[in-house]
Symmetry: C2
Subunit: 116 residues, 2 copies
Protein backbone atom coordinates (compact mmCIF):
# COMPACT_ATOMS: atom_id res chain seq x y z
CA UNK A 1 0.00 0.00 0.00
CA UNK A 2 1.56 3.25 -1.12
CA UNK A 3 1.04 6.58 0.55
CA UNK A 4 -1.21 7.83 -2.21
CA UNK A 5 -3.35 4.69 -2.15
CA UNK A 6 -3.82 5.05 1.57
CA UNK A 7 -4.99 8.62 1.02
CA UNK A 8 -7.53 7.58 -1.58
CA UNK A 9 -9.15 5.12 0.79
CA UNK A 10 -9.18 7.82 3.45
CA UNK A 11 -11.22 10.03 1.16
CA UNK A 12 -13.85 7.33 0.75
CA UNK A 13 -14.27 7.04 4.49
CA UNK A 14 -14.20 10.73 5.30
CA UNK A 15 -16.65 13.51 5.48
CA UNK A 16 -16.46 15.51 2.25
CA UNK A 17 -19.94 14.78 0.96
CA UNK A 18 -21.67 18.10 1.60
CA UNK A 19 -19.82 21.31 2.32
CA UNK A 20 -18.38 21.34 5.86
CA UNK A 21 -14.66 21.88 5.92
CA UNK A 22 -13.18 20.59 9.14
CA UNK A 23 -9.45 21.14 9.34
CA UNK A 24 -7.12 18.24 8.61
CA UNK A 25 -6.85 15.65 11.36
CA UNK A 26 -3.43 14.74 12.67
CA UNK A 27 -3.67 11.36 10.95
CA UNK A 28 -4.68 12.74 7.57
CA UNK A 29 -1.97 15.38 7.79
CA UNK A 30 0.67 12.75 8.45
CA UNK A 31 -0.42 10.66 5.46
CA UNK A 32 -0.34 13.64 3.13
CA UNK A 33 3.00 14.76 4.51
CA UNK A 34 4.45 11.42 3.40
CA UNK A 35 3.75 12.30 -0.22
CA UNK A 36 5.16 15.81 0.09
CA UNK A 37 8.20 14.48 1.91
CA UNK A 38 8.91 12.37 -1.14
CA UNK A 39 8.68 15.52 -3.27
CA UNK A 40 10.77 17.62 -0.90
CA UNK A 41 14.16 16.71 -2.32
CA UNK A 42 15.64 18.32 -5.44
CA UNK A 43 17.17 15.09 -6.67
CA UNK A 44 13.88 13.27 -6.38
CA UNK A 45 12.11 16.03 -8.31
CA UNK A 46 14.73 15.66 -11.02
CA UNK A 47 14.21 11.90 -11.07
CA UNK A 48 10.49 12.36 -11.65
CA UNK A 49 11.21 14.99 -14.27
CA UNK A 50 13.70 12.84 -16.16
CA UNK A 51 11.38 9.85 -16.16
CA UNK A 52 8.52 12.03 -17.36
CA UNK A 53 10.58 13.73 -20.06
CA UNK A 54 11.91 10.49 -21.53
CA UNK A 55 10.60 9.22 -24.87
CA UNK A 56 9.58 5.83 -23.56
CA UNK A 57 8.20 7.09 -20.28
CA UNK A 58 10.52 4.89 -18.34
CA UNK A 59 14.14 4.85 -17.23
CA UNK A 60 16.45 2.45 -15.44
CA UNK A 61 18.80 3.24 -12.58
CA UNK A 62 21.81 3.24 -14.88
CA UNK A 63 20.23 6.04 -16.94
CA UNK A 64 19.65 8.13 -13.85
CA UNK A 65 22.93 8.07 -11.97
CA UNK A 66 24.86 10.14 -14.49
CA UNK A 67 22.55 13.18 -14.90
CA UNK A 68 22.14 13.49 -11.15
CA UNK A 69 25.82 13.01 -10.39
CA UNK A 70 25.00 10.69 -7.52
CA UNK A 71 26.15 7.20 -6.64
CA UNK A 72 24.05 4.20 -7.65
CA UNK A 73 23.03 3.31 -4.05
CA UNK A 74 21.83 6.86 -3.50
CA UNK A 75 19.73 6.85 -6.66
CA UNK A 76 18.23 3.49 -5.71
CA UNK A 77 17.37 4.92 -2.32
CA UNK A 78 15.59 7.94 -3.80
CA UNK A 79 13.71 5.77 -6.27
CA UNK A 80 12.49 3.55 -3.46
CA UNK A 81 11.11 6.58 -1.63
CA UNK A 82 9.25 7.68 -4.77
CA UNK A 83 7.86 4.17 -5.26
CA UNK A 84 6.76 3.93 -1.63
CA UNK A 85 5.01 7.28 -1.99
CA UNK A 86 3.02 5.89 -4.93
CA UNK A 87 4.55 8.26 -7.47
CA UNK A 88 6.72 5.82 -9.43
CA UNK A 89 6.12 2.31 -10.65
CA UNK A 90 8.97 -0.19 -10.63
CA UNK A 91 9.16 -3.07 -13.10
CA UNK A 92 12.09 -5.43 -13.20
CA UNK A 93 12.95 -6.91 -16.59
CA UNK A 94 16.00 -9.09 -16.49
CA UNK A 95 18.83 -7.39 -14.71
CA UNK A 96 17.37 -3.94 -15.17
CA UNK A 97 14.72 -2.13 -13.14
CA UNK A 98 12.55 0.26 -15.16
CA UNK A 99 10.79 3.12 -13.43
CA UNK A 100 7.77 4.97 -14.80
CA UNK A 101 5.31 7.54 -13.49
CA UNK A 102 2.20 6.08 -11.89
CA UNK A 103 -0.62 7.47 -14.07
CA UNK A 104 -2.46 10.26 -12.30
CA UNK A 105 -0.22 10.19 -9.27
CA UNK A 106 1.12 13.71 -9.76
CA UNK A 107 -2.42 14.97 -10.31
CA UNK A 108 -3.54 13.23 -7.14
CA UNK A 109 -0.68 14.86 -5.24
CA UNK A 110 -1.69 18.24 -6.64
CA UNK A 111 -5.24 17.50 -5.52
CA UNK A 112 -4.03 17.05 -1.96
CA UNK A 113 -3.21 20.75 -1.97
CA UNK A 114 -6.56 21.81 -3.37
CA UNK A 115 -8.45 19.97 -0.63
CA UNK A 116 -6.43 21.05 2.37
Amino acid sequence: MTALQTLESEVDASCCTTSGKPALSAKEAQQRALVFKALADPNRLRLLSIVKAGESGEACVCDLTEPLDLGQPTVSHHLKILVDAGLLHREKRGTWAYFSLVPGALDDAAGLLATL
Copy 2:
Protein backbone atom coordinates in the same frame (compact mmCIF):
# COMPACT_ATOMS: atom_id res chain seq x y z
CA MET B 1 11.48 37.14 -2.05
CA THR B 2 9.61 33.98 -1.20
CA ALA B 3 10.28 30.61 -2.74
CA LEU B 4 7.15 30.75 -4.86
CA GLN B 5 7.94 34.22 -6.14
CA THR B 6 11.40 33.10 -7.16
CA LEU B 7 9.83 30.25 -9.06
CA GLU B 8 7.46 32.53 -10.92
CA SER B 9 10.31 34.68 -12.17
CA GLU B 10 12.12 31.52 -13.22
CA VAL B 11 9.19 30.62 -15.42
CA ASP B 12 9.35 33.96 -17.19
CA ALA B 13 12.99 33.46 -18.02
CA SER B 14 12.81 29.82 -18.98
CA CYS B 15 12.10 27.88 -22.08
CA CYS B 16 8.48 26.73 -21.98
CA THR B 17 7.23 28.67 -25.00
CA THR B 18 6.95 25.88 -27.52
CA SER B 19 6.85 22.24 -26.57
CA GLY B 20 10.31 20.91 -25.70
CA LYS B 21 10.43 19.42 -22.24
CA PRO B 22 13.97 19.35 -20.95
CA ALA B 23 14.19 17.76 -17.54
CA LEU B 24 14.41 19.99 -14.50
CA SER B 25 17.76 21.64 -13.92
CA ALA B 26 19.46 21.23 -10.57
CA LYS B 27 18.72 24.87 -9.75
CA GLU B 28 15.04 24.71 -10.66
CA ALA B 29 14.67 21.48 -8.74
CA GLN B 30 16.17 23.02 -5.64
CA GLN B 31 13.79 25.99 -5.78
CA ARG B 32 10.76 23.79 -6.14
CA ALA B 33 11.95 21.49 -3.39
CA LEU B 34 11.88 24.46 -1.01
CA VAL B 35 8.12 24.74 -1.46
CA PHE B 36 7.53 21.03 -1.00
CA LYS B 37 9.82 20.98 2.03
CA ALA B 38 7.49 23.52 3.60
CA LEU B 39 4.57 21.19 2.85
CA ALA B 40 6.37 18.07 4.04
CA ASP B 41 5.46 18.37 7.71
CA PRO B 42 2.12 17.22 9.11
CA ASN B 43 1.89 20.11 11.55
CA ARG B 44 2.48 22.64 8.79
CA LEU B 45 -0.22 21.02 6.65
CA ARG B 46 -2.58 21.33 9.58
CA LEU B 47 -1.66 24.97 10.02
CA LEU B 48 -2.52 25.69 6.40
CA SER B 49 -5.71 23.69 6.77
CA ILE B 50 -6.82 25.50 9.92
CA VAL B 51 -6.14 28.91 8.42
CA LYS B 52 -8.05 27.95 5.30
CA ALA B 53 -10.99 26.47 7.19
CA GLY B 54 -11.46 29.48 9.43
CA GLU B 55 -14.38 31.82 8.91
CA SER B 56 -12.29 34.95 8.58
CA GLY B 57 -9.54 33.31 6.53
CA GLU B 58 -6.97 34.28 9.10
CA ALA B 59 -5.68 33.08 12.44
CA CYS B 60 -3.20 34.24 15.04
CA VAL B 61 -0.55 32.17 16.77
CA CYS B 62 -2.60 31.89 19.94
CA ASP B 63 -5.42 30.23 17.96
CA LEU B 64 -3.03 27.67 16.51
CA THR B 65 -1.05 26.37 19.46
CA GLU B 66 -3.92 24.53 21.08
CA PRO B 67 -5.25 22.45 18.16
CA LEU B 68 -1.73 21.35 17.25
CA ASP B 69 -0.69 20.59 20.82
CA LEU B 70 2.63 22.30 20.28
CA GLY B 71 4.44 25.06 22.13
CA GLN B 72 4.18 28.67 20.98
CA PRO B 73 7.80 28.90 19.78
CA THR B 74 7.36 25.77 17.70
CA VAL B 75 4.22 27.09 16.05
CA SER B 76 5.95 30.40 15.33
CA HIS B 77 8.79 28.49 13.74
CA HIS B 78 6.48 26.49 11.47
CA LEU B 79 4.58 29.62 10.49
CA LYS B 80 7.81 31.33 9.53
CA ILE B 81 8.70 28.44 7.24
CA LEU B 82 5.30 28.70 5.56
CA VAL B 83 5.68 32.46 5.14
CA ASP B 84 9.19 32.08 3.71
CA ALA B 85 7.85 29.53 1.24
CA GLY B 86 5.31 32.08 0.03
CA LEU B 87 2.30 30.09 1.21
CA LEU B 88 1.17 32.24 4.12
CA HIS B 89 0.91 35.98 4.59
CA ARG B 90 1.73 37.53 7.95
CA GLU B 91 0.13 40.76 9.14
CA LYS B 92 0.80 42.18 12.54
CA ARG B 93 -2.03 44.13 14.15
CA GLY B 94 -1.25 45.31 17.63
CA THR B 95 0.15 42.53 19.70
CA TRP B 96 -1.25 39.83 17.49
CA ALA B 97 0.10 38.39 14.25
CA TYR B 98 -2.56 37.24 11.82
CA PHE B 99 -1.75 34.65 9.20
CA SER B 100 -3.71 34.09 6.01
CA LEU B 101 -3.27 32.04 2.86
CA VAL B 102 -1.50 33.84 0.04
CA PRO B 103 -4.12 33.87 -2.76
CA GLY B 104 -3.27 31.33 -5.42
CA ALA B 105 -0.22 30.03 -3.62
CA LEU B 106 -1.57 26.53 -3.16
CA ASP B 107 -2.63 26.45 -6.80
CA ASP B 108 0.83 27.58 -7.83
CA ALA B 109 2.36 24.82 -5.75
CA ALA B 110 0.05 22.31 -7.39
CA GLY B 111 1.12 23.68 -10.75
CA LEU B 112 4.73 22.89 -9.92
CA LEU B 113 3.76 19.23 -10.05
CA ALA B 114 1.96 19.50 -13.35
CA THR B 115 4.97 21.06 -15.04
CA LEU B 116 7.68 18.75 -13.78
